[in-house]
C-alpha cells in the first residue's frame, strides 16, 4: 500500500475512530476530551482530503479495492475507493462543512446532557458520508447511503423525549426507505444485467447496453437504461427530498440546528445529486430518465419555494429553501449539466450551512425561540451573525458577486438550452423560483434582524452575540459564500475540471456551448454582465424589493394578503396536504390492511376455522362416539341385537 492509499483510508477512518471512542467511552473521558477527539478526527480527515485534492489535481486518481466483503457465485462484492475529481471535491466539501459544524457544536450544545453522544453521531455521520462519496461500487454506495440515513434518524430524534422529534425521525427513516426500495431494485438490475457492481466495469459496458430492453409487464418492452436510471433516481428522490418524497425534510428540523446545517442542508441531502452525477454514464443513455429527473426537479424547485414564503419558523424557511435549491440541482442533472449541479451543490453547501448555523446562533440568543414573529431588530445585538446571514442571504438569492449567483445562473442557462421534453416547464420553474427565493430569503432576514424588536423584555435584555466557537464557523463559511462562485465557475463548468469523472453525450452538452460563449464574451466579467442583463437577476431584485416593501415598509400588508388569498394561503399553510394524505393513506392504510389480515386472515380463518376448527371437529366427533360407550349393559345388549339382526338379514339376502 502506497502512502497515498494510506491517506485514502485515513479520510473515513479518522472520523470513525472519533465516533467510536466518543461513543463508547465519552461518558468516562468527559466532555472536553470528547469534543477534542471528535474534532481532531474530522480535522485530520479534512487535512488528508486537501492533500489528496492536490494529488488528484496533479493527475493521480485511484480506483481499487480495500477488502472483499463477500463472494457469491462468480461475483465479488468489494469495499473500495474511487478517488477522482468528483469524489475529491465532495470529500473537501463534506469534511470542511463537518469541521465547521463540529466546532460550532461546542457552543451550541454546551448545556446539553447528550453532548458526547452528539459528537459521536456527527463523527459517525462524517464517516458514513465519506464512505458514500469515496465508494467505487454500488454496494458500498448503498452502505453509505443507508448509514447516513441511520445517523440522520438518530440525530433528528436526538431529543428523544420530544414527541414531535421522534415522530419526525421515524417519518424521515421510512420515507427514505421508500426511496431506498427503488434504489435497491435499481442496483439489483445493474448487478443482473452487468454481472458486477463495480462502477468502472458498469460504465465501460453501459454504451453497448443502451439499446437493451426489459419486459416488466408482458408485452411492454421498456428501455433497460430508463428503468435502471429511474429506479436509481427514486433513491435520490428519497435522500435528496424531491417531490413527492420531500415530506420528511421539513420535519427533520426537529433535530438540533448543527445537524440541520450539516446533514439536512449541506451534505446528506445532496447525496442524491452526487449519485446521479456519478451515474452520468448511465443517465446519458436515457432521455426518458433525464426528462423525469428534470420535471421532478422543476416541481420541487417551484412548489417548495412557495411554501418557504409562508413559514414563520426560521428553520422551516431555510428547510423549504433547501428543498427548492435541491430542486435546482436536480434540474441541472436532468439538463445534463451535471457539473453545474455539483457546482451549485458546493456553493449551496457553504451558504446554506452558513444560514442554518446563523439561524442557530439567533436561536441560542433567543433562548430557543424559533418563531420569527417574535424576533426583529436583532442586527444591533448580533452584528457578526447579522452580517454573515446577509452574505448567506445574498448568495442564496443569486445576487452577484456572491456564490449562488454563478451556480444558479449556470443552471438556468443550461436548462434553457435543453431540448428534452419537460425542459420548458423546468426553465419556467427555475426562473420563477428566483423571485420567490429572494422574497422568502429577505422576508426572513427582515423579520429576524430588522424592524421593531418583538420579543419580550426579558429576552431582549439578554440578547448578545454568540461566543466565538459559534461565530467563527459563520465567518469561515461566509468566505467561500463570497468567493466560491466567481473563483471556481471557470474551472468547474467550462475548464473540464471533472474530465472523465462525468460523462455527457454531445447532443446534451449545454455546458460546452455555454463555455464557448463564456470564452467569447470576455470570461467572468462577460458572464456577470450577461447575467445582470438577464431576467433572473431582475427577478431576484424584484423579490428583495417586494420583501422590503411588505416586511419593512407596509408591514400591515402581509396579513391582508393572507386574508384575501383565502384558499391559496390555506393550501400553502397545509403544505399542499401531503402530510395528511400520507398519514391517512399510507400509514393508516398499512395499519388497516395489517389489522384486517391479522384479525380475519390469521385469527379467524387460519386459527379459528382450520386449526381450532379441526380440533373442534375431532372433539365433536369423539364426543359423539363416546356416547356409544355408556357403560350400561342394556345399551350394549341392544346394540348387539341390532347388529345380529343386520348380519342375519345380510346372510339371508345373499
Amino acid at each position: 500500500m502506497t502512502d497515498m492509499q494510506k491517506l485514502y483510508l485515513l479520510v473515513p477512518l479518522a472520523p470513525l475512530f472519533g465516533a467510536v471512542i466518543v461513543g463508547l467511552f465519552g461518558h468516562w473521558i468527559g466532555r472536553r476530551p470528547s469534543h477534542w477527539v471528535a474534532i481532531i478526527g474530522v480535522a485530520v480527515s479534512f487535512a488528508a482530503s486537501v492533500t489528496i485534492f492536490k494529488d488528484v489535481l496533479a493527475g493521480n486518481t485511484f480506483n481499487g479495492s480495500v477488502y472483499t466483503w463477500l463472494t457469491s457465485g462468480d461475483t465479488r462484492f468489494e469495499v473500495g475507493f474511487l478517488i477522482d475529481r468528483l469524489s475529491v471535491l465532495m470529500m473537501l466539501v463534506v469534511t470542511f462543512v463537518s469541521l465547521m459544524v463540529h466546532i460550532y457544536t461546542i457552543g451550541y450544545m454546551r448545556d446539553d446532557p447528550g453532548y458526547q453522544r452528539f459528537f459521536s453521531y456527527i463523527s459517525l455521520f462524517t464517516f458514513s458520508m465519506l464512505m458514500l462519496v469515496m465508494s467505487n461500487n454500488y454496494l458500498q454506495l448503498f452502505f453509505g447511503w443507508e448509514a447516513v440515513g441511520l445517523v440522520s434518524y438518530l440525530l433528528i430524534g436526538f431529543w428523544h423525549t420530544r414527541p414531535s422529534a421522534i415522530y419526525a425521525n421515524l417519518k424521515a427513516f421510512l420515507v427514505n426507505r421508500v426511496g431506498d426500495f427503488g434504489f435497491l431494485l435499481g442496483i439489483g438490475l445493474v448487478l443482473w444485467q452487468f454481472g458486477t457492481l463495480d462502477y468502472a466495469a458498469v460504465f465501460a459496458r453501459a454504451p453497448e447496453m443502451a439499446s437493451q430492453t426489459i419486459q416488466l409487464f408482458p408485452g411492454h418492452a421498456w428501455s433497460l437504461m430508463s428503468v435502471i436510471c429511474i429506479l436509481l433516481f427514486v433513491g435520490a428522490m428519497g435522500k435528496s427530498a424531491q417531490f413527492p418524497l420531500h415530506v420528511w425534510l421539513p420535519d427533520s428540523m426537529e433535530g438540533p440546528t448543527p445537524i440541520s446545517a450539516l446533514i439536512h442542508a449541506a451534505t446528506m441531502v445532496t447525496a442524491g445529486i452526487f449519485m446521479v452525477a456519478r451515474m452520468s454514464p448511465l443517465f446519458e443513455l436515457s432521455d426518458t430518465a433525464l426528462s423525469v429527473v428534470m420535471v421532478i426537479g422543476g416541481i420541487t424547485t417551484l412548489f417548495m419555494a412557495f411554501l418557504a414564503v409562508v413559514q414563520t419558523d426560521i428553520k422551516r424557511v431555510i428547510a423549504y429553501s433547501t428543498l427548492s435549491q435541491l430542486g435546482y440541482m436536480t434540474v441541472a442533472l436532468g439538463a445534463s449539466a451535471y457539473a453545474a449541479g455539483i457546482f451549485h451543490l458546493m456553493t449551496h453547501a457553504f451558504f446554506k450551512a452558513l444560514l442554518f448555523l446563523a439561524a442557530g446562533s439567533v436561536i441560542i440568543a433567543m433562548h430557543h425561540e424559533q418563531d420569527m414573529r417574535k424576533m426583529g431588530g436583532l442586527y444591533k445585538y448580533m452584528p457578526i451573525t447579522y452580517l454573515t446571514s446577509l452574505i448567506g442571504g445574498l448568495a442564496l438569492s443569486g445576487i452577484p458577486p456572491f456564490a449562488g449567483f454563478f451556480s444558479k445562473d449556470a443552471i438556468i442557462e443550461a436548462v434553457g438550452m435543453s431540448h428534452l421534453p419537460g425542459s420548458g416547464f423546468a426553465y419556467f420553474a427555475t426562473v420563477s423560483a428566483v423571485f420567490l427565493t429572494a422574497l422568502y430569503t429577505f422576508r426572513m432576514l427582515f423579520l429576524t434582524f430588522h424592524g421593531k424588536p418583538r420579543m419580550d423584555e426579558h429576552t431582549r435584555q439578554h440578547l448578545r452575540e454568540s461566543p466565538w466557537v459559534v461565530w467563527l464557523p459563520l465567518v469561515l463559511l461566509a468566505i467561500p459564500s463570497v468567493f466560491a462562485g466567481w473563483r471556481f465557475i471557470q474551472p468547474l463548468l467550462f475548464g473540464d475540471y471533472f474530465g472523465s469523472a462525468i460523462v455527457v453525450s454531445p447532443q446534451h452538452d449545454a455546458l460546452i456551448e455555454m463555455g464557448q460563449e463564456f470564452a467569447a464574451h470576455g470570461g467572468l466579467s462577460g458572464f456577470i454582465a450577461h447575467g445582470v442583463a438577464a431576467l433572473p437577476f431582475w427577478l431576484a431584485l424584484a423579490g428583495i424589493g417586494t420583501a422590503w416593501f411588505l416586511y419593512m415598509k407596509r408591514t400591515d400588508l402581509p396579513a391582508k394578503i393572507a386574508e384575501r388569498s383565502g384558499v391559496v394561503y390555506t393550501i400553502l399553510l397545509r403544505k399542499y396536504g401531503f402530510d395528511e394524505f400520507n398519514d391517512w393513506f399510507f400509514a393508516g392504510g398499512a395499519r388497516r390492511i395489517g389489522g384486517f389480515l391479522w384479525r380475519i386472515g390469521d385469527v379467524t380463518i387460519i386459527d379459528g376455522f382450520f386449526v381450532n376448527g379441526t380440533a373442534r371437529v375431532i372433539g365433536w366427533g369423539s364426543r359423539l362416539i363416546r356416547r356409544l360407550q355408556s357403560g350400561l349393559i342394556y345399551h350394549y345388549a341392544f346394540t348387539m341385537i341390532i347388529g345380529a339382526l343386520v348380519m342375519v338379514t345380510w346372510f339371508v339376502r345373499s
Partner: protein, 495 residues
Amino acid sequence: MSLGIPQLSLVIWVPILAGVAVLFTGSDRNAALARWLALLGALAGFLVAIPLYTGFDTLNPGMQFTEMHPWIETFNINYHLGVDGLSVLFILLTSFTTVLVVLAGWRVIEKKVAQYMAAFLIMSGVMNGVFASLDAILFYVFWEAMLIPMFIAIGVWGGPNRVYAAVKFFLYTLLGSLLMLVAFIYLYHVSGGSFEILDYQKMPIPMVPQVLIFLAFFTAFAVKVPMWPVHTWLPDAHVEAPTGGSVVLAAIMLKLGAYGFLRFSLPIVPDASHMLSGFMITLSLIAVVYIGLVALVQGDMKKLIAYSSISHMGFVTLGIFLFNAYGMEGALVQMLSHGFVSGALFLCVGVMYDRVHSRQIADYGGVANRMPMFAAFFMLFAMANSGLPGTSGFVGEFMVVMGAIKSNFWYAFFAATTLVFGAAYTLWMYKRVVFGKVANQHVEQLSDIGLREFVILALLAVAVLAMGIYPLPFTEVMHASVNGLLNHVAQSKLY
C-alpha cells in the same frame, strides 16, 4: 482431519450429558450448582464445536467429520454423522446460543432451575444431532426428540396460556413430521433397504412419487420454518415461552425447517422442487408482505418479533427456491443472521419483561431515559432487524433480492418491500417503547442492564456487526457445498 476424535458426537453428547448431570443436582436447594454446571456444560459444548469451523475444509463440497456405526442392523439403520457447508455453521450457532440462553435464565428462573437448564442443554445436543445426521431415521429421532424439551420449557416455565401454546406447538409440528416419516419409509422401500440420506440423493425417482415426497417433506418443513399459512403456532408459542425458549425457537428451531428443504427436498426430489418452485416462492412472498403488515399492528412485543421472524424466514425460503448462488447463500446467511438478531431481540424484550413483567408496547415509553445502555443495544438490533447495511441483517436480504431479480423482477419487488415494512414495524415499536417521556411508574423505576446482561448483548452485538461488516468468513464455508447442491439440483433425476 478429525484426528480420530469423534467431533460430531462430542457436540451432540457433551451438552446432553451435561444436561443429565445438571438434572442430578436435583431440587432448587442446589440451584447455584445447577447454574454453574449448566454454564460449564454450555461452554464445553461451544468449545468442542469450534474445531468444526477451524478444521473445516472449505474446498470440499462433501461431508466432513463423518462417523459411521451400525445402530439397528435389522433395518440397516446407522448412527451416521457428517457436516458440510450447509450445516456446519448451524452447529456453531446452536452451541453459541445455548451459552447465551443459560446466562439469560441465570437469575430469572427461580423454580426448577436444574430442570430448566437441563432442558436447554439437552435440546442443544439434540438439535446439533439434527444438523449432523446423515441417516434418515437418526434424523427423525433427533427431529422429534427436540420437541420434548421445548414442549416442557413452554409448558412448565411459560406464561398464563402456556398449555394451549405448548399443545398447539406440539401437535402442529408433530403432524407435519409424520408425513416425513412416511416419505422415509417409502424411500427405504424403493432404495432397496437404505436409510442413507446420501443414497436418496443419488437415486432416480419418477415424477409422481417425487411430487408426493416433496409434499410430505413440505408439510414437515413448512410448519417448522414456519411458512404462511401454517405459521400460527409460532406467535402463540413465542408469547408463552420463557425468554430462553423464545431465543432457541427463533434462533435455531426455525432454521431446521429451512435446513430440511436444503438437505432433503432439493437434492432428493429436484424435479419436483423445480416444478413447485413457483408455489414455494409465492408462499414466501406472501410471508414477507402479509406477515410484515400483520407485524405492524401487534401490541405485544414478542408477538411482533414472532411475526417479524416469519417474515424474515420468508426470505430464506424465497432464496432457497430461486436456484441460484446469490439466493441460496443469501438464504443461509439470512438464517444465521436471523439467529443472532431475533435471539437478541427476544433477549431485549426479556430484559424489559424481567423488570416490568409486561410485554405490551402500551405499558412502556421512554425506556431510554432510564436504560441508556440497553437502549443503544436495542437500537442496534432493531436496525439489524430492519436490514441496515453494516449489520448482519442486511447481507442475507441483499443477496436474496439480488438473486430474486435474476428470476423475476417482481419477486425482487415484493421481497424488497421489507425495506419499508421491516423498518416500519421494528422502529415504530422501538419508538413507542424506548423513546418519549417516561411513561409510567414502572418505567421510572427501571435500572439499566447489569454485567451479565451486558455480556450477553455485547456478544450478540459483536456477532451482528462482524457479520455485517465482513461476511466473507461465513460465506466461504458455504461456497463449495452450495455449488455442489446447485449443480446436483440442476440435473434431472427422472428416468
